[in-house]
């Protein structure tokens, strides 16, 4: 009985000290996303993500054949929807790296070791409490787009530089970004004088 009371007291003291430390840390440093998640958070997040994958999807194999048009669709889709956080080569954009948890390196073994079904489930359903949205819309066309993305993600560890260049032209750009890019191109080409107005192309659309 005495031991039980001592153990309960110890737990209360530890929780109290731990809670105070946590509160002190939050008050002093705030809850910034500019730091990397701790190992404990990372482990918990990965375990939760795995548990959240529907069991019928986990073992599912990509039903699409990795034909060139499927890969090309995946590339265009990734450049238009995913690269803003994941970067064209899957390494993570500055914005994606500032998320909490940061967008993972899609080329790394930890991502590549996920099954086709797990990648598909992440794309379709998103991941709660992260920056990953659910892209699924419940249509067969939407699912086909997600499976094409799964094929493209498999190519990321050996993506040729010419594909990255192709994707740069497909990345969504604001009128300001377009003007900035055109200004840089003209500057590098040695053009001088006041910059003439740069025509902004009409908004491109990409069907999801």
């Amino acid at each position: 009985m005495k031991g039980l009371v001592r153990a309960a007291l110890l737990i209360v003291v530890v929780i109290g000290i731990g809670g105070s430390l946590l509160a002190y840390s939050v008050v002093r440093r705030g809850l910034s996303t500019r730091v990397a998640p701790s190992l404990v958070e990372e482990r918990i997040a990965r375990a939760m993500r795995r548990l959240a994958t529907p069991s019928d999807l986990r073992g599912k194999v990509n039903p699409l054949e990795a034909k060139s048009e499927v890969l090309s669709d995946g590339l265009a889709h990734f450049a238009d929807h995913c690269a803003v956080c994941h970067a064209n080569d899957g390494s993570g954009s500055p914005m994606g790296k500032s998320l909490y948890p940061p967008a993972p390196d899609m080329r790394a073994a930890r991502t590549q070791q996920l099954s086709d079904g797990e990648l598909f489930a992440i794309i379709e359903n998103g991941i709660r409490l992260t920056g990953m949205p659910a892209w699924g819309n419940g249509t067969p066309e939407g699912e086909a787009s997600s499976w094409a993305l799964v094929h493209f993600i498999r190519r990321l560890p050996r993506l040729p530089p010419e594909d990255v260049t192709r994707m740069e032209a497909l990345n969504p750009k604001s009128p300001d970004e377009f003007r900035e890019e055109e200004e840089e191109r003209r500057f590098l080409a040695g053009e001088t004088g006041a910059a003439s107005p740069v025509p902004v192309p009409e908004k491109r659309t990409h069907h999801h």
Binding site: L10, P161, E184
Partner: protein, 109 residues
């Protein structure tokens, strides 16, 4: 025994509340002309006449027409677009290039 348990619990809290690695700072773009090029840094002047020193490391990509070229291709007088991040080394803030796009070499005066 209780002391060991306490230490272990503190270690877990430390891992949760004291994350270690910080992200690098914001990206900057500089459109300028190279005034001096070395293997580990480049000095340039932008169009407004401001001088910059940007450090180069193994992760810096040097590109010409979107193709990777060696750092030694950077020459004085060349127009470049530098994308750089700020970082602190020995408590001194400095700029490190992530990419350097090479353009034309300015005509000799």
């Amino acid at each position: 025994m209780a002391r060991r348990r306490l230490l272990a619990i503190f270690a877990v809290f430390a891992l949760v509340v004291l994350p270690l690695r910080a992200h690098p700072g914001h990206e900057h773009k500089i459109l300028g002309t190279v005034s001096m090029a070395a293997p580990d840094h480049v000095m340039l002047k932008d169009r407004a006449g401001n001088d910059y020193t940007v450090h180069i490391n193994g992760q810096t990509k040097v590109l010409r027409a979107k193709k990777v070229v060696p750092v030694s291709d950077i020459k004085a007088g060349m127009r470049v677009v530098v994308t750089a991040v700020t970082e602190k080394v020995n408590n001194v803030e400095r700029m490190r290039a992530t990419t350097i796009e090479l353009g034309t070499t300015a005509p000799a005066k």
